[in-house]
């Protein structure tokens, strides 16, 4: 038993750290520290910088551009990325569709899509949820009927993050109404430029455009864009959701933000003293640090323990606690900002250029509430808290 990093891992960490220090544009770093979200262009440009270095898809097999890093190296990489900070790789590309194609795709599909996924030449989005199918994902009804060399898709997807940026969507569609509901689902790749695809923005409580509805009206999809076998899409979905649960914890990001909060709390005044001297705030912050550290070690235990039946409950724990901590971080930013968080900064503009100069509030305070509001989604998406607890109780032999 030993929790220390090896000298090789420490060397790796400094290599990664200096790469980020030398490469992430200052303006982008500023933006992330201020709690603003990078725009499409910034994400793509950064992703391609990473890809040029060979680090865009480190978790993939070497043959498809991966790095052959150990799980610990991957964690170190993510931790340094969050600390820099640099934008994280686009999860839809790197953690979702890429691994699904590697595991289930045909050779032709891999050659056609993977290099473009890795370089973010194509921005992918995820077409799982439907208006009538949230947590009960397998009840989805978007239908694909076969007509010659095509599927013809009709239906609707919802809560699609960054569909407005996307070139492609991977979709779960129903291809059979005969079998058990899970057994009639297929995994289709759909070009967002196909005739019959309509994207409509969903106004959300944070006031920032990220979620969308997508309508499919007689959209023709060539059958070579089916992944795996027809009616075998549920396997792809389960595989993808399992990956998502582990990636979503993002402890490195939480730790980096907690450090930032502590540093800001030393500078932020509140009630005649600095916020770090407010006992309740300081305790909440320390409590979050403890839980983040515990979760980090829980994650190490999963990565080093090699999974297996003994560890079947770990992914749900990572998802539950990881998202809870992300929300805790967002709440701490709000608590730290106090009334400075109230004003709305106009979307798409630099905070400083909208309300900043008049109110003279720091940018991190002006973004605190929008991130807090948006952050509520974390415990709903990717299998809600309640679904994770259902899964956990099944691994415990309760049902």
């Amino acid at each position: 038993l030993d929790l220390r990093y090896t000298p090789e891992q420490e060397t790796f960490r400094s290599e990664v750290r200096s790469f980020f220090a030398d490469t992430v544009p200052l303006e982008l770093r500023r933006k992330l520290l201020d709690g603003r979200r990078p725009d499409r262009g910034e994400v793509v440009q950064w992703h391609q910088t990473l890809n040029a270095k060979g680090w865009a898809v480190p978790s993939w097999p070497k043959a498809w551009g991966g790095c052959d890093w150990s799980p610990i190296q991957l964690m170190i990489f993510q931790e340094e990325q969050a600390a820099a900070p640099a934008p994280p790789a686009l999860p839809f590309n790197v953690n979702m569709i890429g691994p699904v194609l590697i595991a289930f795709g045909s050779e032709q599909q891999k050659r056609r899509f993977l290099p473009r996924i890795a370089n973010l030449d194509d921005w992918w989005c995820q077409g799982f949820s439907e208006p009538g199918s949230g947590s009960d994902l397998a009840s989805l009804s978007t239908f694909a009927r076969k007509e010659g060399d095509n599927y013809v898709v009709n239906g609707q997807k919802i809560w699609t993050t960054y569909a407005q940026y996307a070139d492609w969507i991977f979709c779960l569609v129903r291809t059979s109404r005969e079998a058990k509901k899970q057994a009639g689902i297929s995994f289709l790749l759909i070009d967002m430029k196909s005739p019959g695809v309509t994207v409509r923005k969903i106004e959300t409580i944070d006031g920032i455009h990220s979620l969308n509805e997508i309508f499919f009206d007689d959209v023709r999809v060539p059958i070579d864009q089916l992944v795996g076998r027809e009616n075998g899409g549920w396997d792809c979905a389960k595989f993808l959701l399992g990956n998502e649960r582990v990636c979503i914890a993002d402890v490195g990001h939480t730790k980096a933000r907690l450090r930032q909060i502590r540093a800001l709390a030393h500078k932020t005044a509140g009630g005649g003293r600095r916020m770090i001297e407010q006992p309740l705030f300081a305790q909440k912050l320390a409590m979050a640090e403890i839980e983040a550290k515990a979760l980090e070690i829980t994650q190490f235990r999963l990565l080093e323990g090699g999974g297996g039946a003994q560890m079947a409950h770990f992914p749900s724990i990572l998802k539950l606690k990881g998202t809870e901590l992300q929300q805790t971080v967002q709440q701490l930013f709000v608590d730290l900002a106090g009334p400075s968080a109230l004003a709305v900064a106009a979307e798409g503009t630099d905070c400083r250029n909208s309300v900043g100069p008049l109110l003279n509030e720091p940018d991190w305070a002006l973004t605190a509430l929008e991130n807090y509001f948006y952050g509520r989604a974390a415990t709903i998406l990717g299998g809600s808290d309640e679904i994770q607890k259902n899964i956990l109780s099944r691994t415990m032999g309760l049902s």
Binding site: L258, R259, L295, I297, M396, L398
Partner: protein
């Protein structure tokens, strides 16, 4: 980074499990010997070398790492074993090992490792709460040795131990770190009064009064003025050991709860089919894994970090342990319903021990305040 036990540690784990499983069933718990614990188990502990884990080889011990202590303590927690392992084989043995060498200390360590003698650390006093340097008991130098005057409180197995390692103030203010001396006092010492009482977890404890108890020079352990360092080092090892015990007890309480949910029927179905109960059990598992992670972190910090660097990590660990213990203990009772309140059923005893563990060696609130004062965890521990 490596999360595997060595082959020897795996073996230790299964041997401890087998030993305690055979001898410490819940039904056997009340039938302990006059010493206040099960002497056959204690003898087997000695035979297996467990009582010498925190004793160097040159003193007849094993000189093991904190991981071995963790393994034993987790077993003790899982089986709710009542014995003086923590006060004798962990706290007092560590204190004796850390103190300046003396003949008496070497002899005591040898006897303790062999199971011939039981030790305890007599440090806490009324009003100490969790302030480790609060010592009002005094030590006065005389021609023939040192005279101890004062009292100690909540000393684990204090009326049963053969020898006490006693802290007493030689100089300085009541809460000063400097000026604390350490002395060995046998149970037969003149002027020593011991009053035994039982704690809510069922374990034995004592109030001790020292009326000019004479400690001859050969039993003086440390009068350099830095006795606090020894106490601090011993308590650090003890806190990690308690955390491991808590993990074992929490795991057992959760196992009992899951088993009960599957067996108990209401409304013609097993209550395990009710989602609100499933979800509470799922949360218990989450609290358990988080506690286990922190117990590992704290235990390994004893090896990896210097004494000062350890405090934020150990404080963080004890906060997590205290909170997890409370959530799991309370939930275990709630999910059992009425039977959880009954002494004849084991789950309540786990709850009582888990509650006591939070209150021993610094509760969650105390350690959270410590951590806040230290500037948080991440600045100290990445």
């Amino acid at each position: 980074m490596n999360f595997e036990f060595s082959a020897e540690q795996e073996m230790l784990k299964s041997e401890v499990e087998r030993l305690l499983g055979n001898h410490h069933s819940f039904e056997q718990r009340e039938f302990v010997s006059v010493e206040g614990w099960s002497s056959p188990v204690w003898a087997l502990f000695a035979e297996m070398g467990l009582l010498g884990l925190n004793v160097a080889e040159e003193n007849g011990g094993v000189g093991a790492t904190p991981v071995e202590t963790m393994i034993v303590m987790e077993g003790i927690g899982r089986h709710l074993a009542h014995d003086p392992f923590l006060p004798s084989a962990v706290l007092a043995s560590t204190a004796l090992s850390l103190a300046r060498r003396s003949k008496s200390a070497a002899r005591l360590l040898k006897d303790a490792a062999a199971g011939r003698t039981v030790l305890t650390l007599a440090h806490s006093e009324r009003g100490t709460r969790y302030d480790l340097s609060h010592v009002t008991t005094t030590a006065r130098k005389t021609q023939s040795g040192w005279l101890i005057e004062g009292s100690k409180s909540l000393v684990p197995y204090g009326a049963r131990a053969n020898f006490l390692v006693v802290s007493a103030r030689m100089t300085g203010e009541i809460s000063a770190r400097d000026g604390i001396g350490l002395f060995i006092v046998p149970d037969s010492a003149e002027g020593l009064q011991r009053r035994e009482h039982r704690l809510h977890d069922g374990s034995l404890s004592a109030e001790l009064a020292f009326a000019d108890v004479l400690v001859p020079n050969e039993d003086v352990l440390d009068v350099s003025g830095r006795g606090f360092d020894v106490i601090e080092g011993a308590y650090q090892v003890g806190i990690a050991a308690l955390a491991a015990e808590a993990v074992g007890a929490m795991a057992a309480a959760l196992d009992l709860t899951v088993e009960y949910l599957n067996v108990r029927r209401q409304f013609n179905v097993p209550i395990a089919t009710f989602q609100s109960l499933q979800h509470r059990a799922a949360e218990m598992l989450l609290w358990l894994e988080q506690a286990r992670s922190m117990a590992l972190f704290g235990t390994l910090a004893l090896v990896a970090e210097d004494i000062d660097q350890r405090w934020p990590i150990l404080a963080a660990m004890k906060v997590q342990i205290g909170r997890s213990a409370r959530f799991i203990g309370q939930s275990a009772i709630q999910l059992h319903g009425g039977i959880g309140m009954a002494s004849e059923y084991p789950v309540g005893h786990y709850f009582r021990r888990l509650t006591a563990i939070d209150l021993l060696l610094g509760d969650a609130d105390h350690h959270l305040a410590t951590l806040v004062d230290a500037g948080g965890l991440l600045s100290a521990a990445g």
